[in-house]
C-alpha cells in the first residue's frame, strides 16, 4: 500500500473516532449536569425546603415553599389560558384552515416561537404591569401563556394532520358531521401526540425565568393574590445563585436540582407515552 493510501486510511479512522468522541461528549454533558446538581443540591433538600419561607442569609432552615406554590400558580394560570387557545388553534389549522389564512397563522405561530422569551416579558410588562401599576402573577402567567400558545398550536396541528384521511372519510360516510368526526374520531386518534405536546410545552414554561423578571417579579412571603408579585422557583434560583452568600448558593443548587428533576421527568414521561404508539386505543 502506498504511503498516501495508508495515510488516507489512518485519517479516516482518526476522523471517524473523533466524531464518536463528539457524540460521547455531547451525551455526557447531560449526565454531568445531572450529576453536579444532585451532588451539590441533595444535601440541602429537606423538609424545610418544601415547607418554609425563605429566611435571611445566615439564618438556617429557610426554604422555598412560597416559590414552589408561586410557580404552580403562575404555571397553572398560563396553562389554563395557553392550552385551550393553542389546542383550538391547532384544530383550526389541521381541519378547517383555508389556504391563505392558515398559512398566515402558521407562519405567525412559528415567528412567535422564535421570539426570545425576554421580549415576551417586555410585551407582558407593557400590557399588564404598566396598566395595573403592579407586578403580578397574572402578568407572569400571561407571558408564559404567550410562549405556550404557539408551541401547543403547532404540535396539535402536527399530530392531527398525521391522522390518515381515510379515518375521517370512514366517519363522514356514516353520516357524522365534520365537527363530530373531529371530536369523536380524529382527536382520540391523535390524543397521545397532542398530550405529549402539551406536557412538553408546560415543562418548558415551568422552567422559564426571563419572562418573569419584570412581570411576576418575586416575593419573600406567601401570596395567593393574582395581582401581586409572586415568587417562582426559577426566579429564586436566579437570585440565590447571584447572591454572595454560601447558604443561598446551596439553596440555589437544591432548587435547581428539584426543578431539573421535574422538567426531565416530564420530558421522559412524555416521550415514553408517545413511543408507546400513536392512536391505538384499547
Amino acid at each position: 500500500m502506498s504511503f498516501r493510501n495508508r495515510w488516507r486510511k489512518i485519517l479516516s479512522s482518526l476522523m471517524l473516532s473523533l466524531t464518536g468522541v463528539c457524540a460521547v461528549v455531547a451525551v455526557s454533558i447531560l449526565f454531568l449536569i445531572l450529576g453536579l446538581l444532585v451532588y451539590n443540591g441533595w444535601r440541602s433538600v429537606d423538609w424545610n425546603f418544601f415547607t418554609q419561607l425563605p429566611k435571611s442569609p445566615g439564618e438556617t432552615g429557610g426554604g422555598m415553599a412560597n416559590a414552589i406554590v408561586g410557580s404552580c400558580e403562575i404555571v397553572v394560570l398560563a396553562t389554563l389560558i395557553g392550552l385551550p387557545v393553542g389546542f383550538m388553534a391547532g384544530v383550526y389549522l389541521a381541519e378547517f384552515g383555508g389556504k391563505t389564512f392558515a398559512f398566515l397563522v402558521r407562519y405567525t405561530a412559528d415567528l412567535l416561537n422564535g421570539v426570545p422569551s425576554i421580549v415576551i416579558g417586555i410585551f407582558a410588562w407593557s400590557v399588564l404591569v404598566v396598566r395595573m401599576h403592579t407586578y403580578s402573577a397574572l402578568a407572569g402567567g400571561f407571558a408564559l401563556a404567550m410562549i405556550l400558545i404557539p408551541i401547543t398550536a403547532r404540535s396539535t396541528e402536527q399530530f392531527m394532520t398525521s391522522v390518515p384521511q381515510t379515518l375521517r372519510e370512514g366517519a363522514l360516510a356514516l353520516g357524522a358531521s365534520k365537527w363530530k368526526t373531529i371530536a369523536t374520531v380524529v382527536v382520540p386518534a391523535a390524543h397521545r401526540g397532542i398530550a405529549t405536546g402539551m406536557i412538553l410545552g408546560v415543562a418548558r414554561i415551568a422552567g422559564e425565568t426571563a419572562p418573569l423578571l419584570f412581570t411576576s417579579l418575586n416575593n419573600q412571603y406567601w401570596n395567593t393574590s393574582l395581582t401581586q408579585p409572586t415568587a417562582s422557583l426559577p426566579y429564586m434560583i436566579y437570585t440565590r445563585a447571584m447572591s454572595p452568600y454560601d447558604d443561598w448558593h446551596r439553596q440555589a443548587w437544591a432548587a435547581g436540582m428539584v426543578l431539573l428533576l421535574l422538567v426531565l421527568f416530564a420530558n421522559v414521561a412524555a416521550r415514553l407515552i408517545l413511543s408507546r404508539g400513536i392512536a391505538v386505543q384499547k
Binding site: 381515510t166 370512514g170 363522514l172 360516510a173 353520516g175 357524522a176 382520540p188 391505538v280 384499547k282
Partner: protein, 273 residues
C-alpha cells in the same frame, strides 16, 4: 328475500329494516346519475355519465386504473366533497331526489360506504360498529343492534368473545368485514364498496363476496372493482369506465360474453389493463 331479525330501533332518523328494501311496486332505479360531470379544479375527471342503478341488485363498475370509476362512486355519497376544489355538474338521484342539493349527513345515512383499505377507528370492535348509531342519535338497545350488524356481516361468531378488544387486533379480512358491519349498522338503503377486496387474500375475498350475495336482498349494492372475475362472479349489471367516460353498461352476461363496444372487448380480453 331472507327474513331479517327484528331489531328495536326507535330513533326517528334511522329507517326501519322493512322499509329500506325495495318495496313491491316501487321504483326500479334506486340510484340514478344524469349527465354527471366531475372536476378536480380545472381537470375534468368524469364526462357526462348517465347510469341507473337497479334496486336490490349488485352493480359493478370496472375499468383500468384512473378511469374514474372510484371518482364516480364517491360522488354518489358526496364523499368527494372532502377534497378541496372539486365541482360536480349534473344530477345524482336517490329515489328521484337530487342528492346534490340536500343535507349531506342525512344522505350518508342512507348511502353507506366501505373503503378500499379497511379503516376501522382506533376504538373497540363494539364501539366501531356502534359509532354510526351513536352519531345519528340512536336510542334503542345498542348491544342488540351491534350484534345484528355483526351477524349480517358474518363476523359475529369470530368476535363475540372480544367485542371490547381493539379493532386493530383483527386480521385484514376481518377488519374489512368489521367496516361492512359498521356501515350496515345504520341500515343504509345503498351500500357503496370501493375495491373492498383489493388488499385481501382469496379466502377473505370469497367470504366478502358471499356476504354481498346475502346482503343484496336488503340493500342496493354498487361495487367498484379492478378484478374482472369478481365482477363476473357477483354482479347483476356491470358498467365499463374508460378515461372518465362510461363506455358500456349492461347486464353482466352481455358485457362479458357479447360486449357492444370494441374498447369493452379489448379490456375484457386483456388487451390492456
Amino acid at each position: 328475500m331472507s327474513p331479517k331479525e327484528p331489531t328495536t330501533m326507535s330513533a326517528p332518523n334511522v329507517p326501519s329494516p322493512g322499509q329500506a328494501a325495495g318495496k313491491p311496486g316501487g321504483r326500479q332505479d334506486k340510484l340514478k346519475a344524469v349527465n354527471l360531470n366531475f372536476f378536480y379544479g380545472a381537470y375534468k375527471a368524469l364526462h357526462d355519465i348517465s347510469l341507473e342503478v337497479p334496486a336490490n341488485k349488485i352493480t359493478a363498475l370496472i375499468g383500468p386504473s384512473g378511469c374514474g370509476k372510484s371518482t364516480f362512486l364517491r360522488t354518489l355519497n358526496r364523499i368527494s366533497e372532502t377534497i378541496r376544489n372539486t365541482r360536480v355538474e349534473g344530477q345524482v338521484l336517490l329515489d328521484d331526489e337530487d342528492v346534490l342539493k340536500v343535507d349531506v349527513t342525512a344522505l350518508r345515512r342512507r348511502v353507506g360506504m366501505v373503503f378500499q383499505k379497511s379503516n376501522p377507528f382506533p376504538k373497540s370492535i363494539f364501539d366501531n360498529v356502534a359509532y354510526g348509531l351513536k352519531v345519528n342519535g340512536f336510542r334503542g338497545a345498542l348491544k342488540d343492534a351491534v350484534e345484528h350488524s355483526l351477524k349480517r356481516a358474518a363476523l359475529f361468531d369470530e368476535v363475540k368473545d372480544k367485542l371490547q378488544k381493539s379493532a386493530y387486533a383483527l386480521s385484514g379480512g376481518q377488519q374489512q368485514r368489521l367496516c361492512i358491519a359498521r356501515a350496515l349498522a345504520v341500515d343504509p338503503e345503498v351500500l357503496l364498496l370501493d375495491e373492498p377486496c383489493s388488499a385481501l387474500d382469496p379466502i377473505a375475498t370469497a367470504k366478502i363476496e358471499d356476504l354481498l350475495f346475502t346482503l343484496k336482498d336488503q340493500c342496493t349494492i354498487v361495487i367498484v372493482t379492478h378484478n374482472m372475475q369478481q365482477a363476473a362472479r357477483v354482479a347483476d349489471r356491470t358498467g365499463f369506465f374508460l378515461l372518465g367516460k362510461l363506455i358500456e353498461y349492461n347486464t353482466t352476461e352481455i358485457i362479458f360474453k357479447n360486449p357492444a363496444k370494441q374498447e369493452t372487448e379489448d379490456y375484457i380480453t386483456g388487451r390492456f389493463g
